[in-house]
């Protein structure tokens, strides 16, 4: 009997490993297939947790005798779980073109429902399995505490997070990572089956099939990514996301997270981005280029600069650019693999020109290059007659209101540091920021400098008429507030534009979400409310850390596994200690609620007063402490609810549903609309409500 209990615990730990790796790989897959921003991360985690919560509630059916808990059933479910992540990733890739038109981006609702549908089978079972394992153990040993499963699950989660963050993300492809992380589960599931029995062949066939699926995933890895246009010349998963190079006849296109970034044979953009700013200055001796695209180096070289510092975060990107001749090296080119903002903060070099070449700032990672704080950094590093330039999405003939607000927001932010900010309506809207007047007759300036161009010299006078330039600059609205790190207004505007583009509104979603949330909140007990708010605050804090990390350090895609692991790491020791002190019941709840409020207050103070001087370790320690408090609280809450089977399922689901709400509300609503600090204050207020509820109630 003891042996069986141990086997079940092993399966739970292996399930934890598998589920965390599956979650992280699924996040990366959706970022590549849909849209690589933080809202998508939030929607994935939201769906994951809600479906997990529903799965957990469904486990109660087992208690009612609909699907009686048995070791054999648990073993079969675990076999199924071991191969589902691979099927899930392949489904995400294949169904994209089944559900959506090939090549289109998708809107908020399509994203939400596509995620929901593709992850539902796996997450419902994952949610189901946890309490079901407890019921199976309790069939063997009725005295077994629910916290044992909670601890085992946490241990697996931490191991999975660490395995992904420290090994898998560096060395293997997604499908290989799924193979490696699911093998332990498959082995433990196999060992869970009774040693003898007539169904041995069936068990072996089932496990063999699961193994076959796992290996097939590895072999189908590249085939499942093959494009319809041309051929895949390169595929790689860097620490920061997916990189693909598409070859279509003689053209190479670089795709990052599924979106074409630039391709060969398109020099017009390179001309605009380089010559519009550099034509303004007399001496282009020392240039800083943050991120580059095809053809830019050739254009830069025409100015014969002494040094060009080219900063690119992802070393694999530069390697690919040079390998496929998308960029050409030249004397004086100095490649720096670092986050552009971190580089600018540390360097003492002064530049004649700083040119930033990013896609639209629709992620927090890119938004940090369009904030007040960043512009102030740039200003400090630019020589008196120098120029700073960046671009945003262009428009053909009419500037929409949403885009006008976006451009105005950035215009007003830049105007705080530069006395002359001029927008040129090229293929992208190019911002020229200097302390000298901007000369908009670019072809004339280039002619004076003796610089030849193909596109500008032939198309400028038709595309960028004086009338178009004046109209655009006159449309800038000084009333639009500036964009800051702490209050990323631009992200909110991008989010609104996303809805506008797809003629959608978030109102329907908010209404359904609020209604279901209220029904749930009215039905739960006080202890469950505490767990709900703790889940909400913990995941809200995790999102806060992800966003703050993105703002201050700019490479969350690399560190997201680590952040998630840290937020899991505290749960296990917390629950361990909490289990020892669970008899103190209400006192523990009060104590942990107070702790969480204090941690959040400390976080707010640190962000307010130290900001981007905070070390990375601060965020990790904060995450570990919050999760410790969360884990500490769970056994006490469970104990107060008598720790029987229905109480366990309700407690698990309260935690998951609270976490889902925390993620969604924080990332989609609170942070874009209220900024980091106010989001933290609101999360703290929610926890204060829970504290009052506990203090006011009887044990």
């Amino acid at each position: 009997m003891k042996k069986n209990e141990g086997s079940i615990t092993s399966v739970v730990i292996a399930t934890g490993i598998s589920s965390v790796v599956a979650q992280l790989i699924t996040i990366r897959e959706f970022l590549a297939q849909l849209h690589g921003n933080e809202f998508v991360i939030a929607l994935i985690l939201f769906n994951w947790l809600v479906l997990g919560g529903v799965g957990t509630l469904m486990a109660r059916l087992a208690l009612r005798g609909y699907w009686k808990a048995s070791i054999k059933r648990l073993a079969w479910m675990s076999v199924l779980l071991s191969c589902l992540p691979s099927i899930q990733i392949l489904a995400v890739r294949w169904f994209r073109d089944v559900f959506f038109i090939h090549g289109v981006s998708v809107g908020f609702y399509q994203t939400l429902f596509y995620i929901f549908l593709t992850i539902a089978p796996y997450t419902l079972i994952i949610g189901f399995v946890l309490p079901y394992s407890l019921f199976v153990i309790r069939n063997l040993n009725p005295a077994c505490s629910g916290i044992r499963i909670y601890l085992a699950d946490n241990l697996g989660d931490i191991a999975g997070g660490a395995l992904f963050s420290f090994f898998l993300v560096y060395f293997v492809s997604p499908m290989t990572a799924l193979l490696l992380s699911n093998l332990p589960l498959l082995v433990f599931a196999y060992l869970l089956f009774p040693a003898s029995g007539r169904s041995r062949i069936g068990i072996l066939s089932g496990c063999g099939l699961a193994l076959l699926i796992l290996f097939s995933g590895v072999f189908l890895e590249t085939a499942s990514l093959s494009p319809r246009e041309g051929e895949l010349a390169f595929y790689g998963e860097s620490r920061y996301g997916r990189i693909e190079v598409l070859r279509d006849r003689d053209q190479f296109t670089l795709l990052r997270d599924g979106r074409p970034v630039f391709s060969s044979h398109n020099f017009s953009m390179a001309e605009e981005i380089i010559h519009y700013p550099l034509s303004q200055i007399e001496n282009a001796g020392h240039i800083l280029l943050i991120s580059a695209e095809s053809g830019m180096m050739e254009e830069l070289e025409k100015y014969k600069p002494a040094i060009v510092d080219y900063v690119e975060l992802d070393p694999q990107i530069t390697e690919i650019q040079f390998r496929f001749n998308l960029l050409k090296p030249f004397p004086g080119l100095n490649i720096i693999h670092k986050d552009g903002r971190a580089y600018l903060k540390e360097t003492d070099t002064s530049y004649d020109a700083v040119i930033i070449n990013f896609t639209e700032p629709d992620t927090f990672q890119i938004n940090r290059f369009f904030t007040d704080e960043f512009f102030s950094m740039v200003k400090r590093r630019i020589r008196p007659q120098g120029i700073f330039s960046f671009s945003m999405e262009g428009f053909e003939n009419y500037l929409s209101e949403s885009q006008r607000r976006k451009l105005s927001c950035v215009y007003n932010t830049a105007s705080e540091y530069f006395s002359h900010v001029t927008l040129l309506p090229g293929q992208r809207v190019i911002f020229l920021c200097t302390d000298s007047p901007v000369m908009t007759d670019i072809p004339q300036r280039l002619y004076q400098k003796g610089i030849q161009t193909d596109y500008i010299s032939s198309f400028y006078y038709g595309n960028l008429t004086e009338e178009r330039i004046i109209k655009l600059n006159e449309l800038m609205d000084p009333a639009v507030p500036v964009n800051t790190d702490g209050s990323p207004r631009l992200i909110r505007l991008m989010f609104s534009e996303w809805f506008e583009k797809f003629a959608a509104s978030p109102v329907g979603f908010i209404a359904v979400f609020s209604m279901l949330g209220l029904i749930y909140l009215f039905r739960i007990k006080r202890e469950e409310f505490v767990l709900f708010t703790t889940g909400c605050m913990t995941m809200g804090s995790e999102i806060l850390v992800i966003f703050a990390f993105q703002i201050f350090f700019g490479y969350v895609y690399f560190q997201i596994g680590l952040i998630i692991t840290v937020f899991l790491a505290g749960l296990f020791p917390g629950a361990w200690q909490g289990h020892r002190l669970r008899q103190k019941g209400k006192g523990v709840l009060l104590f942990t609620d107070c702790l969480l409020i204090i941690f959040m207050a400390a976080f707010i103070m640190s962000i307010l007063f130290i900001g981007d001087h905070l070390p990375i370790a601060f965020f990790f320690i904060f995450g570990a402490l919050v999760s410790f408090a969360c884990g500490f609280q769970f056994p006490a809450a469970l104990h107060l609810r008598k720790d029987d089977n229905p109480a366990a399922t309700r407690a698990f689901s309260a935690d998951l549903i609270g976490a889902a709400c925390g993620i969604l509300v924080s990332s989609v609503f609170l942070i874009p609309y209220f900024g980091l600090v106010w989001t933290a204050v609101i999360l703290m207020a929610i926890k204060i409500m829970s504290l009052i509820a506990v203090a006011a109630g009887n044990e």
Binding site: R64, F100, Q251, G462, K501, R523
Partner: protein
């Protein structure tokens, strides 16, 4: 068996709701909302029920081609969508509304985009080179192209944008004021502001200003014939030569567009054809071959054809740009198929931008973007072999570079 409790009932209801309602919503055609798309295979627009304003505004005008039906319903006859509108409804293009049983256009004298462009930008390569076109557009479009480059005005209502007041007479005055030789009805879809366009074009014609139609060609024959009386040149977009691609990427049908070409050809209008080569959709060599054969058979060899390079835009932003070699190959294919003037667009500094005489093959017009460094036509004839070159040319050569 135990009775189900109220709480269990609620949980089950919530679970059922999540499990059934949400996937059902997801699986619905991606545009159950009025006015959006039907679904994956056909992104056609739909009528906006109850979206019309209560009464006409200053920039309204009674529609020109429509029929009154029973119960105050009207049917718009300008484009093949033939929107059947009950009182209070708005058309697919968002410009026409039924107010009290009368069809009104809401885009009469309120352009939201007004610019002065080189005629080459339209693109029109055989129409008064180096001349300027006073270009106007109101909101609206009868298609739903996923790669629309003017979606900010084509996919919104007239009430939702900034606009200037420029009634037909004033528009013509404004064009004269900036010395434009032509007025181009362009950017969004001029068929949707048909009444405004034809009103302006009639006055312009009287004033000696040319009228240019830059359109998707999704128009019915009757209004088109009316338009042919006043239009001097046109660029019509043949988005692909496949009805299914038309439905999937554009929300329209191929046949009405082909009919437009036939009608314009029959009426002797100078028009040029553009074809955007979208990778994975419109880059099929066999389809392009069939398209060229149809052009030669139905329209003759003289209408210039422009193959445009695709760049990721609007919703269709996960495709790579068209490779240059694909465009070059299509140009060769079209030339060898008998089309005499084939150009490449969105490709700077390429020989596909120049005009070569179809008889002696010498360069007639060298184009560097919107600049014309070399011009070898005398009137409408090749300077080298005296062959007549189709198009509308200046007798004394084009204006200054």
């Amino acid at each position: 068996m135990n009775k189900i409790t109220r709480r269990q009932f609620l949980y089950c209801s919530a679970a059922l709701f999540s499990a059934s309602a949400i996937p059902a919503w997801a699986a619905r055609p991606s545009g159950a909302k009025p006015g959006n798309e039907y679904g994956k295979e056909d992104v056609s627009g739909r009528v906006f029920r109850g979206d019309a304003p209560e009464k006409p505004w200053k920039w309204s005008h009674e529609g020109l081609f429509y029929d009154k039906l029973k119960n105050d319903r009207v049917i718009c006859g300008v484009c093949p969508n033939r929107c059947n509108l009950a009182p209070g409804d708005r058309s697919v293009c968002r410009s026409k509304v039924n107010i009290g049983g009368t069809l009104y256009t809401l885009t009469y004298g309120n352009p939201c985009a007004v610019h002065l462009d080189p005629v080459e930008k339209k693109p029109l390569f055989h129409f008064k080179p180096r001349s300027k076109a006073f270009s106007i557009a109101t909101t609206g479009c009868n298609l739903r192209c996923l790669n629309c480059q003017n979606w900010e005005i084509s996919q919104v209502r007239p009430e939702d944008v900034r606009y200037s007041e420029l009634f037909p007479k004033e528009a013509v005055e404004a064009a004269k004021g900036v010395s434009a030789e032509s007025i181009a009805y362009t950017y969004s879809e001029p068929v949707t502001f048909f009444e405004y366009m034809i009103g302006t074009a009639r006055i312009a014609k009287e004033e000696g200003i040319y009228n240019l139609l830059i359109s998707n060609g999704y128009i019915n024959r009757e209004p088109l014939l009316e338009l042919c009386r006043v239009v001097d040149g046109a660029n019509v977009n043949l988005k692909s030569f496949s009805d299914s691609i038309y439905r999937k990427l554009n929300g329209g049908r191929l046949q009405p567009v082909l009919e437009t070409f036939r009608t314009m050809h029959e009426k002797g209008i100078h028009f040029e054809i553009t074809n955007l080569v979208v990778p994975g959709y419109a880059d099929d060599q066999e389809m392009v071959k069939r398209m060229c054969e149809w052009i030669v058979e139905s329209l003759g060899p003289d209408h210039p054809l422009h193959f445009l390079r695709f760049f990721p835009k609007y919703k269709l932003n996960r495709l790579p740009p068209t490779p240059l070699s694909t465009l070059t190959r299509f140009r060769e294919l079209a030339l060898s198929g008998g089309i005499r003037y084939v150009y490449l667009g969105n490709v700077p500094d390429n020989e596909g931008n120049n005009t070569y005489c179809h008889n002696c093959h010498k360069m007639l017009v060298e184009r560097k973007g919107y600049l014309i460094p070399e011009y070898n036509l005398t009137g409408n004839r090749c300077k080298f072999c005296n062959t007549v070159i189709p198009g509308v040319w200046d007798e004394g050569g084009p204006g200054p570079v």
